[in-house]
Amino acid sequence: MSEGVVWLTIFVLSVFVGTEVISKVSSTLHTPLMSGANAIHGIILLGAVIVTGATDSTPALVVGLVAIVLAAINMVGGFVVTDRMLQMFGRRRGAPPPVAPPKSPSPAPRSDR
């Protein structure tokens, strides 16, 4: 199998995984999901680091450093802001309405006062 075909295989399989994984998401989570996916493509930071680390001219270095700053904003900001949104869902979920289930199978009779 040639190298190009390997890349194509990975690409096509990733497309299927990507669509499959989010196919049943409810509209409640559309905003965090969009934001989370946004953060993931901030991984271009990795590419920016590799390219910048191999530059030899000053203009190229400057461009590379700008790319690094932008990519880091995308990645770090994206994950933090998504976490902030999701925290709110968690907080609501963590504070259910006060239901008082009987602690023992035969609750003590109420004393009438």
Binding site: F16, S35, I40, L46, M85
Partner: protein
């Protein structure tokens, strides 16, 4: 590349899949996001370990600066401004991808495989489109410019010219591999991004954000191919595919096609809507009258909108609902899936205000109840209850499923003015004889209503 590095990257790619999977359910979402963040940190650390990189101090400083800006921005942003924040983060990601591709192009020449050059040209042009397009969506949502569609006579021609120019220049870049051509291509990409988003109306902007998000994902994937990095290819493709799918889901939820959202305004201004306030007569009354209406109703439904969130009136509204509940009424909040500025945005905003989960009803679950409802209280919402979505084919929101507020016995609108909503169209329901308007800032009006109901 050493085997251990490749295995670490495989692990990171798996983590990104798990992150997206986690984000698709409320219970696993936060953990999923953390898994994704952890994988991203590991992936970025690895090249510092196995490659002999130059300029390490400068790069670490740049990462620190970017991270600092990202964290401060993410912490400071208000929940109401979340859509423009997502747009901004997406735009800088696209810009970074385009810059990386330009730097790669520098080293390419006659011997470079054609497909590498295709991927490079793609990354440059689409990354630039994403950057400029996101900047315009940010400006629209932040109200730095009008949120209404901007169409000028030569726009379709300019757009077509930029598109053809982009394609032509991409071909030239593939043939020539010259940096100068790459820079011109990036500039054309910027122009294309601006021209693509200008004609999109405010209500449709979130869908465009999602689309641009998918674009950036695909540029990152193409960049991964050029750099020979599997983890970039997988992460970028995941986001590209998921983003495309999400875009289609959201467009379907609004009853629109993506083509109609992007190019609808170019086809003849039908989505322009009315920007002006109407001077037709409406029935308005004071808080005391509305309080009587609410206090003696058995069934009340509250429809919260973006106006409520902007006025920071969630807590007052919650108090009012509590008082009505205590008086024996059955009260629910009806949540339209695209209420707010982005699908799911209202859920985030009400979650922030700690409105009890069980009082929130989704559109499909509550729409049957409006017929038996005595009073519907619409707070700062307009487009999601506009019957024009059902009745007026020329309306920009036509086909969007709406809350059937028009079937209730009485409707009370809390509004600041008669200015049309985000979609820029008038709501016939405002002029209905069963409708009462209470003008004023949402927080102020709700406080007066609360006091009046308590006094009864």
């Amino acid at each position: 590349m050493p085997t251990w590095v490749q295995l670490v990257y495989l692990g990171c790619a798996v983590c990104f899949v798990l992150a997206l999977k986690g984000l698709s359910g409320p219970r696993t979402a936060r953990l999923g996001n953390l898994v994704g963040a952890g994988a991203a940190v590991v992936a970025v650390t690895v090249p510092f370990v196995y490659l002999e990189l130059d300029h390490v101090p400068q790069m670490l400083a740049a990462i620190a600066v970017g991270s600092g800006v990202g964290v401060v921005g993410a912490r400071r942003v208000q929940m109401t401004q979340m859509p423009q924040m997502v747009a901004l983060f997406n735009g800088v990601g696209g810009g970074a991808a385009a810059l990386v591709a330009l730097l790669e192009l520098q080293h390419m020449g006659a011997g470079t495989p054609a497909f590498d050059l295709v991927a490079t040209a793609f990354t440059i042009v689409v990354g630039s489109v994403s950057f400029a397009g996101s900047a315009v969506t940010f400006a629209k949502l932040q109200e730095l410019m009008t949120s209404r569609p901007v169409v000028f006579p030569g726009l379709p021609v300019a757009f077509a010219a930029a598109l053809l120019g982009g394609v032509g220049l991409s071909v030239l870049v593939v043939l020539e591999a010259s940096l100068a051509l790459g820079v011109v291509l990036a500039l054309v990409g910027l122009a294309l991004g601006v021209l693509l988003v200008l004609p999109v109306g405010g209500a449709d902007v979130p869908i465009v954000i999602s689309l641009l998000n998918a674009f950036t994902g695909l540029t990152v994937a193409a960049g991964g191919y050029v750099l020979g990095s599997v983890v970039l290819l997988v992460a970028g493709t995941l986001v590209g595919a998921a983003g495309t799918f999400l875009t289609l889901l959201m467009a379907r939820a609004m009853g629109r096609s993506v083509a109609n959202i992007l190019f609808g305004a170019l086809r003849g201004g039908s989505t322009l809507g009315a920007g002006e306030a109407s001077d037709r007569p409406v029935r308005s009354s004071g808080p005391e009258d509305v309080a009587i209406l609410l206090a003696y109703a058995d069934r009340v439904i509250v429809v919260p909108g973006y106006g409520l969130a902007v006025a920071q009136a969630q807590h007052t509204l919650r108090e009012l609902v509590e008082v009505l509940l205590a008086r024996g009424a059955k009260v629910d909040y009806a949540i339209h899936p695209v209420a707010g500025r982005m699908p799911g945005h209202m859920n985030v905003l009400l979650a922030e205000a700690q409105v009890p989960y069980e009082q929130l009803a989704e559109m499909d679950d509550i729409n049957g109840d409006f017929k038996q409802t005595d009073v519907v209280l619409v707070v700062g919402a307009n487009d999601v209850v506009n019957p024009a979505a059902r009745s007026t084919p020329s309306a920009p929101i036509y086909g969007m499923p709406i809350l059937d507020v028009d079937q209730a016995r009485q409707v009370v609108f809390l509004k600041r003015s008669m200015r049309p909503g985000f979609a820029g169209i008038e709501n016939e329901l405002l002029f209905d004889p069963r409708t009462t308007l209470l003008f004023g800032d949402a927080k102020d009006s709700l406080a007066k209503l609360l006091a009046a109901v308590k006094a009864l």
